[in-house]
């Protein structure tokens, strides 16, 4: 494995608490089976390896397509090539969901369009408010 194994760099591993939380979400206490510490650590290593595998495969695909950025497409193609084709629908769904959220954020951020006023109207409103504020302080 790569240098993060030897260096023990936490940044290149996954947060244990998060992994533990996800494991217990997969195996709720009603199942009555818990993950041992060793198994969880091993699982984390497997997860990191999985990410590395997917991203290097996706990188190859993107290079073949003469793209500089690894896009979602490349990830799904990599998943298909690596025998994880059954993950693809959920992955696409998650990506689409994220896109929607992102769009919503952008729209929200644009207050100017939301106000529904022209630039002149806004300028007049601002001038009025300034005048009102000045009147209050004198």
């Amino acid at each position: 494995m790569s240098d993060h194994e030897i260096g023990g760099n936490d940044d290149l591993s996954l947060p244990k608490a998060t992994v533990q939380k996800i494991v217990s979400e997969i195996l709720p206490s009603s199942v009555g089976i818990a993950f041992s510490k060793e198994a969880r650590d091993l699982l984390i290593e497997c997860c990191v390896e999985f990410i590395t595998l997917i991203s290097s495969e996706a990188n190859e695909i993107s290079e073949k397509e003469a793209k500089k950025t690894i896009a979602c497409d490349h990830i799904t193609k990599a998943l298909e090539q690596l025998g994880f084709a059954d993950y693809v629908p959920a992955v696409l769904e998650a990506a689409a969901e994220h896109k929607e959220v992102q769009k919503g954020r952008e729209k929200k951020a644009n207050k100017f369009e939301q106000s529904g006023m022209t630039l002149e109207e806004l300028e007049r409103l601002q001038a009025e408010q300034f005048a009102a504020a000045a009147a209050r302080h004198t």
């Binding site: 494995m1 790569s2 194994e5 023990g8 936490d10 591993s13 996954l14 947060p15 608490a17 998060t18 992994v19 533990q20 996800i22 494991v23 997969i26 709720p28 009603s30 199942v31 009555g32 089976i33 818990a34 993950f35 041992s36 510490k37 060793e38 198994a39 650590d41 091993l42 699982l43 290593e45 497997c46 997860c47 990191v48 999985f50 990410i51 590395t52 991203s55 290097s56 990188n59 500089k68 950025t69 690894i70 896009a71 979602c72 990830i75 799904t76 998943l79 690596l82 994880f84 059954d86 993950y87 629908p89 959920a90 992955v91 696409l92 769904e93 998650a94 990506a95 994220h98 896109k99």
Partner: protein, 371 residues
């Protein structure tokens, strides 16, 4: 225990052929199926159950019951190799609805069933049993085509729907069966404790398929079953459609991106990409975790050891990219493997809470040195 479980597995396809053949073979076949299920039941003996009983005890009870009530003689395990077919059929027929009733606590059972499947397992006159109109439905009851059977027999029979799965080789999910078993027992006691015995006989043939097939149309059963479990085990056969994942927690995308870019060859990564990878990672974890939990269940362990995870990784070539990692960990695992399974659940829990508090760096470094 797991040995018994595996001996059962190859037999079940035979049963399916017998069952679809007609109403007569089931009578002979069902006791066999039951006794096989008993091995699974005994496997569950460590599971918390509302009624603690061992198969042997139950057998005795059943024998006593045989003496007192003739119509219970049919499905007694092993004791009667050739049970009278009619009795057996009636017996099962009688009890499956009783399970249905118990599962459908909310819906009132039909009057006929209530009188006929009265929870009091008192001997009823056999002529009366044979004269029941449901007799015509019996062959269908054992046919694998449940939906037909369900409509023909009684609307109350929503619960036996998974029965068809009993005779198919595909049911594998013992663990869910155990769970369901427990919940059935619970329901059953709520319904009528005196019916426990009768119900359990019927349940023997039913609790396994309930879990494995998990019919979406049956709402009453879905209520009896833990919903999380159903979602988790749905990951086993890769579904064509996107199923809701039990995992709500998301991995930090920044971390994923960093791990991706730790590979020097990997250049720019689109904003969406870590999210896609995170989702894939989540599914990967669900698959790995549920499979290793299945292994733990087979071994009657409440804790998944690294050894079990290793076993899962080595069982499927889909995960051969992990072999290097699991083989590396094996050495340091000998200790953990010995200590892990023997620990009690409470210890395991307390340890877990400790783990979360413990600093990552320290542990990681410690384990690295061992490797």
């Amino acid at each position: 225990m797991s040995g018994e479980g595996t001996t059962y597995a190859p037999k079940s396809p035979d049963l399916s052929s017998f069952y679809s053949a007609g109403p007569t073979p089931p009578a002979e076949q069902h006791p066999a199926a039951q006794s096989q299920n008993w091995s699974l039941l005994s496997q569950q003996s460590q599971q918390p159950r509302s009624q603690q009983f061992s198969p042997q005890v139950h057998l005795q009870q059943q024998q006593q019951q045989q003496q007192s009530a003739a119509y219970f003689s049919g499905p007694s395990l092993g004791t009667s190799q050739q049970p009278p077919q009619h009795y057996t059929l009636h017996h099962h027929h009688q009890q499956q609805p009783s399970e249905a009733q118990k599962l459908q606590l909310a819906t009132p059972p039909q009057s006929l069933d209530q009188s006929y499947y009265s929870p009091q397992p008192q001997p009823q006159p056999q002529p009366q049993l044979t004269s029941q109109p449901q007799t015509s439905g019996l062959s269908q009851l054992y046919s694998p085509y449940f939906s037909v059977r369900q409509q023909v027999v009684q609307p109350v029979y929503t619960a036996p729907s998974p029965q068809s799965a009993l005779y198919q080789p595909t049911w594998y999910d013992n663990g869910a069966g155990q769970q369901l078993h427990a919940s059935h027992n619970h329901l059953q006691q709520v319904y009528n404790p005196s019916a426990l015995f009768a119900f359990q006989q019927g349940q023997v043939g039913l609790h396994q398929p309930d879990a494995s097939s998990r019919p979406p149309d049956d709402t009453s059963k879905a209520n009896a079953m833990p919903p999380r479990r159903s979602a988790a085990s749905a990951a086993h056969p890769p579904p064509p459609a996107v199923e809701p994942s039990p995992v709500k927690t998301k991995f930090p995308t920044a971390r994923i991106k960093r791990i991706m870019q730790a590979d020097e060859e990997v250049g720019k990564v689109a904003q969406q990409t870590p999210i896609a990878v995170g989702k894939a990672l989540e599914m990967f974890m669900v698959a790995l975790v549920t499979k290793s939990a299945d292994v733990a269940r087979e071994k009657n362990s409440k804790r998944v050891s690294a050894q079990m995870l290793k076993q899962v990784v080595e069982s499927d070539e889909q995960w051969d990219f992990l072999r290097e990692i699991v083989s590396k960990v094996e050495n340091s695992e000998e200790k953990g493997g010995k200590g892990g399974p023997s620990k009690s659940k409470s210890q395991a829990d307390s340890e877990e809470s400790e783990e979360e508090v413990m600093p990552e760096k320290k542990k990681r470094a410690g384990r690295k040195k061992k490797v």
